[in-house]
Amino acid sequence: MAREPVLTFTDRGIHCPAGDFYIDPWRPVDRAIVTHAHSDHARSGMGHYLATPRSLAAMRHRLGPITAQALEFGVPLRIGGATVSLHPAGHVPGSAQVRVEVAGEVWVVSGDYKIAPDGLSEPFEPVRCDAFISECTFGLPVFRWRPEAEIRAEVNRWWAGNAADGRASVLGAYSLGKAQRLLAGLDPGIGPILTHGAVEEMTAILRLQGLMLPETIRVVPGVDAKSHPGALVLAPPAALGTPWARRFGPASEGFASGWMRLRGIRRRRSVDRGFVISDHADWDGLNTAIRETGASRVFVTHGYTTVFRRWLADQGYDAGIVATDWQGDEAEAAAEVTE
């Protein structure tokens, strides 16, 4: 008798028949396990949520009151006929991969992930499995990131240069994850750090979760380039070029995204400075992560799926594509579809 697969792909999301739960579903279900709090993965309307404590804190802020259970990394939990555990995905603070074991067979859903440590998120942990469901937002060999220390130095140099020229620096970054990662690398000796309300609120929540971050000042009426000369302003990408950003005068605008690796997209965003900083794995990262799972079956989703699947098949994997409704924070930011 053919065994039922550990996970199946439905039009509501990834389903586990043995435990009757869904992972990052996009339509209302009774029981949802959520990899992280980005809006395309953590949606409203689920009967019950399971996620890491840090993810839950951010989800409560975004979704309002929810019925939820917190699960720490590495702690196994029995749900029906399945054993579930969460493992660091290194994407944003609290982000998890979901390991599901049924009758000795192990499947892992990566969620969004990156394997290079960013100095803030819990570092990615390779999890051995039989089947791996991997995102591949940047699944092309043109995408390759530089080490965190170099990125941090580059951002600080830009900021210091602007400050010396008497200009504010406005840096666009996703309010959950990217903003705090940048914040952690800023050198407060250069000048004051101001935050857009959306960034400030998420930062406050993560501080309560134990993250050590430099001091920030929320932008309210009266807080501008005059009151805080030489400031760096952290704001969601959608706030760049809006009346809100104009209070900082002729500022230099920067944008942090993996898409900034491509010249065409840098030019389209037409910001003064594009920083190649991503919370997703680059080409080498994807390949390393997949190799380290030891999985022979790989399903890809979210990104250059057709190309990446073919590449994996060429490498000898039993590779498939999973259609999901996860839009991707990076894709959204680059397409200028606002949150």
Binding site: L140, P141, R263, G264, R268, V271, A334, A335
Partner: protein, 533 residues
């Protein structure tokens, strides 16, 4: 090369003209003479010849990066740029080098003469010596595809700032058929020797599109009008017995239009004329041929007897810039045109030369009526020029206006979508549009420009959710979205199922108000075919 790469990155990342100018001026103050000269050459389109075949280059890069050819091609399809793809997929440089731009260009120019295995070695060596932007620029230079988004006017201003020489003087000195091998930075930019280059054309005066009603221009008696011809803008230079013909892109095109050389015998030495190169039928009073005819002549370096006979060209003259060796650009248009008419009297009717006829008009509505007939005259619209205006350098607002015919339009349904590349790598931007024929939607045209990035973003999300079928990168979508398509011309085309082909199609706007059922029919489009011929 580091300095040049930094300049390129600075110019590439800012959209502010003031910052671009400042970055260029700083470069022109600091860079070594030979690098400055090469930079001017590169920015004015004087590129070194292609040294390596693009296909070979792609193969070598994929090999070094350890990638299969198909994956290289997929990556290329996303960036839309070969040089960039190669720069991005290669591992970081193992042996960084600090040679100058001129050193690299010298090496690049030596490549073409090498046998292929050695050429390959030299290219691979360069890849391990150059990083990021430098590697990208090197690839652009060896494939002959170097282009930098810097307008000639901006470079002129930066050079003026760096040297303290007046802008118009710089602009004039940079014109002509010099190369970095025939001159030096000092001779080209710093010294003023008008005799040094007899072939030198003048910087072209460019018009702005008229966006408001012509009444806003003031009293009509201050203005002159003539047709806006649909040809190639050109300058005919006759000095010291030598005739040269320049296109607006500052390209020497004398050899492509050999019949115009006859003008050397018809006009006096020391003459420079601005006009339009037009394919022209000599039958009857003579009439311009459609642009498609001229297209057969463009891009051919050598011209066959048959082509010369089938598609003859003329110079349709409209301005005189140099008269008896004297630069008269500062004189008013009325005086320059009077001088041009005087010269034209001595040119026989058989010569490939016409004066662009003035279009007299008593008031603005009269000119509007003339413009409506432009298509019948074989023109795209009318030009309106201030009678008192000098011949400006470049695009100065206020004195020269082009007032084109409104484009033709229809409302069509989007049926296929394809992702863009380059600037729009992660958006669906290339669409196929269809018109109704009975119950069926017949594809009529593709279009990929005219919408804002925000609209493309919205459509991209829609395409993902409304895909019916995939064919490689192309998706067939639910026929639901309607767009107003504008185009400049329409022709019969037996090659297309619809039987028509459009010239310069683009999306004018997204008709969110219209359901697909209310889009136009193929018949409506065919009516346009008959209306404008």
């Amino acid at each position: 090369m580091k300095r040049f790469a930094a300049l390129f990155a600075a110019l590439d990342t800012t959209t502010r003209t003031s910052e671009k100018t400042a970055a260029l001026a700083a470069y022109f103050r600091e860079a070594p003479d030979q690098d400055r000269l090469w930079t001017i050459a590169l920015l004015s389109g004087r590129r070194p010849k292609r040294a390596v075949n693009a296909t070979r280059l792609a193969e070598w890069a994929a090999e070094v990066a350890g990638l299969p050819g198909w994956l290289f091609e997929e990556s290329y399809a996303v960036t839309g740029d070969l040089a960039e793809t190669i720069a991005l997929i290669l591992p970081p440089p193992a042996l960084p080098e600090a040679a100058t731009l001129t050193d690299w260009i010298t090496r690049i120019r030596g490549l073409a003469a090498l046998p292929e295995p050695e050429r390959r070695e030299a290219v691979l060596e360069a890849w391990t010596a150059l990083e990021g932007t430098e590697r990208f620029l090197f690839n652009k230079l060896i494939t002959g595809g170097f282009r930098m988004g810097v307008a000639q006017g901006l470079m002129t201003r930066a050079l003026a700032q760096a040297t303290g020489i007046a802008e118009p003087d710089i602009a004039l000195r940079l014109m002509g058929d010099w190369t970095p091998d025939t001159t030096t930075f000092a001779a080209l930019v710093l010294t003023n020797d008008p005799g040094a280059n007899l072939a030198r054309p003048y910087p072209f005066c460019l018009a702005h599109a008229l966006e408001q009603e012509p009444e806003a221009l003031g009293p009509p008696e201050d203005w002159a009008a003539d047709w806006k011809w649909d040809g190639i803008r050109g300058q005919a230079v006759l000095r010291g017995g030598r005739f040269t013909l320049w296109s607006r892109g500052e390209e020497l095109v004398t050899d492509r239009f050999p019949e115009l050389t006859e003008l050397a015998d018809r006009l006096p030495n020391g003459t420079v004329i601005d006009g339009e190169i037009l394919a022209f039928s000599a039958e009857g009073d003579g009439a311009p041929l459609p642009f498609a005819a001229l297209q057969k002549r463009i891009g051919r370096k050598t011209v066959s007897k048959k082509l010369l006979a089938d598609t003859p060209v003329i110079l349709m003259a409209y301005d005189l810039l140099e008269d008896e060796g004297r630069d008269i650009r500062a004189e008013p248009l009325a005086a320059r045109q009077a001088a041009l008419r005087r010269l034209a009297k001595n040119v026989p009717a058989s010569a490939p030369f016409r004066l662009s006829p003035p279009l007299p008009f008593a008031n603005w509505p009269a000119l509007a009526a003339l413009r409506a007939d432009a298509a019948a005259a074989g023109a795209e619209g009318v030009m309106i020029k201030r009678l008192a205006s000098p011949y400006h350098v470049g695009r100065k607002r206020g004195d020269w206006w082009k007032w084109k015919l409104d484009p033709m339009t229809f409302d069509a349904v989007m049926v296929y979508a394809q992702a863009g590349h380059g600037r729009r790598a992660n958006l669906y931007t290339d669409f196929t549009f269809a018109l109704w024929q009975g119950e069926e939607l017949v594809p009529v045209t593709k279009a990929y420009s005219g919408l804002t990035d925000a609209e493309f973003g919205e459509i991209t999300a829609w395409v993902r959710k409304n895909t019916l079928e995939r064919f490689g990168p192309v998706r067939r979508v639910t026929p639901a979205l309607v767009f107003e398509i504008a185009f400049e011309g329409i022709q019969e085309s037996p090659r297309h199922k619809s039987g028509i082909a459009l010239r310069f199609p683009r999306m004018l706007r997204w008709r969110r108000d219209k359901p697909a059922a209310e889009a136009d029919t193929l018949e409506t489009a065919r009516d346009l075919l008959n209306a404008r011929r």
